[in-house]
């Protein structure tokens, strides 16, 4: 099994390397990990576009707001990923694609991300104009925690017609709507992120 991160509570990938897929004999990666850059490799140093200076340059003129958004962006992204993972667990469950070990690790990952995001959000002092945004993001994290707790008994969610599943899916759609409400794409709080991608994914010139 290929692992690209040593944290114990992240779900394992089920990658197939080039060699495994096509029988191709590729040179040994310098990291010693099959086909993946070492965790300390500089390739992971993605652009920090949500830093206050960058936000000020992008047109968000209030320094306090720019700083708040820069601090909040990773927490927003955590919420976004939790919506995706919780939805994903249900999707895998409904398509008979969920592996028990993987599921436990995914749930642990969501739990950790929510806990860390909640703690960090509580430590951020929002400027007055951003207090409602902060409260909405906090509410979203609470909602996601509630949904997570409903996934403790997955057996109740296997039946596609289950009312329990109805409730969880409705709650996830509600969370998705909340996520859109707290989005600020100009500051990198975006449901679909291209800002960290290579030049290939950047918008064409307008």
């Amino acid at each position: 099994m290929l692992r690209i991160n040593s944290r114990q509570d992240e779900a394992p990938p089920a990658h197939r390397t080039a060699r495994q897929t096509y029988g191709h004999e590729s040179p040994a990666p310098s990291s010693g990990i099959d086909g993946v850059h070492h965790p300390t490799c500089s390739i992971w140093d993605t652009p920090q576009e949500s830093q206050p200076d960058a936000l000020l340059k992008s047109g968000i003129g209030d320094e306090a707001i720019a700083s708040y958004l820069a601090d909040t962006r990773p927490l927003y992204d955590a919420a976004k990923r939790c919506v995706g993972q919780l939805s994903g667990i249900l999707l895998l469950l409904q398509t008979d694609s969920l592996e028990r070990n993987r599921n436990d690790l995914l749930l642990a990952s969501v739990s950790r991300q929510l806990r860390e995001a909640t703690e960090r959000l509580g430590a951020i002092k929002a400027p007055p104009t951003a207090t409602r945004h902060q409260a909405a993001l906090a509410d979203l994290l609470v909602l996601l925690s509630r949904i997570l707790s409903r996934l403790d008994r997955l057996a109740d969610l296997i039946d596609p017609a289950s009312p329990d599943l109805d409730a969880v899916v409705d709650a996830l759609f509600s969370a998705q709507r909340s996520l859109l409400r707290v989005s600020e794409p100009s500051a990198g709080l975006t449901p679909v992120d291209f800002t960290a991608a290579c030049c290939n994914c950047r918008p064409a010139k307008n």
């Binding site: 897929t21 191709h24 398509t95 993987r102």
Partner: protein
Amino acid sequence: MSLYSIYVLEYGYVPEYHKSGVIYGAHNEGYVKLPYCYAVIKGDGWAAMVDVGYNDRDYGNYLGTLFNVQNWRGPREVLAEIGLTPEDINAVFITHAHFDHFGNVDAFPNATFYVQKKELQEWIWAMSLPDRMRWILSGIDTADILRGVQLARDKRLIAVDGAMENVFPGIDLHVAYDSHTFACMWVTVRNDDNNESQDTWVLAGDLVYQFENLNGASEQLKIDDMYLPVGLATGSQINLIMATEAMMKQVGHESRRVIPVHECRLEQTFPSRLSSQKLRISEICLASGAKSAVR
């Protein structure tokens, strides 16, 4: 005898897209037009699509604006050009889970969707990674995963595990792992329904964007005939090249039979016309007895 007609229908386009996004290594070579298209396989009383594009409402509209997508038209308007409605679509093969391929499932109420199991599993795994590794998630809309739950509940989402032959008569699904995405599919149509087909078409999804990916011409490298990978790969460029070779083998290395859906010059190879909305309709092949939609 040909079982199916195949069409590539433009539903929008980016007038000037970085060429380096289309062809690996084409840095500072300017811009190309990048059409967004539906690929349609139309049989006798049956129709399938390869991917569903994205919806221009809600956040899709923001993305479209961000990418400067022009002249976006919905599937009802576009499919009408070949005499179909969204309700007529029976099956959709989702080549991969990027927002511009998996983003408009709601528009096709009668379709069953096919997507690779590993494509779903790996994206969901990637969401468990730390924020500093979020590059991996580029192009994924978590709302699409949520909509997938509804499809699965309705038994309209099938998670395919690897290659799948004859998912419908003469239609095979293939997968390139760790290439453009974790498990990127292509669709092979053996239009004579023979196992050793002499009339094979490959709908390449995003494994091939444009002709240059098949018959590469690099101004900088002074090369005019080799495979060049697409500009974006979550996985490996090697796997993209190997997948290209696998596709080309299926069509006897007749490159015109590998259809790049983002190609803006299909009209140079296939009968085409512009719709009243100035969007291109290309007719890749016609089923036996079918009337042309472009002549």
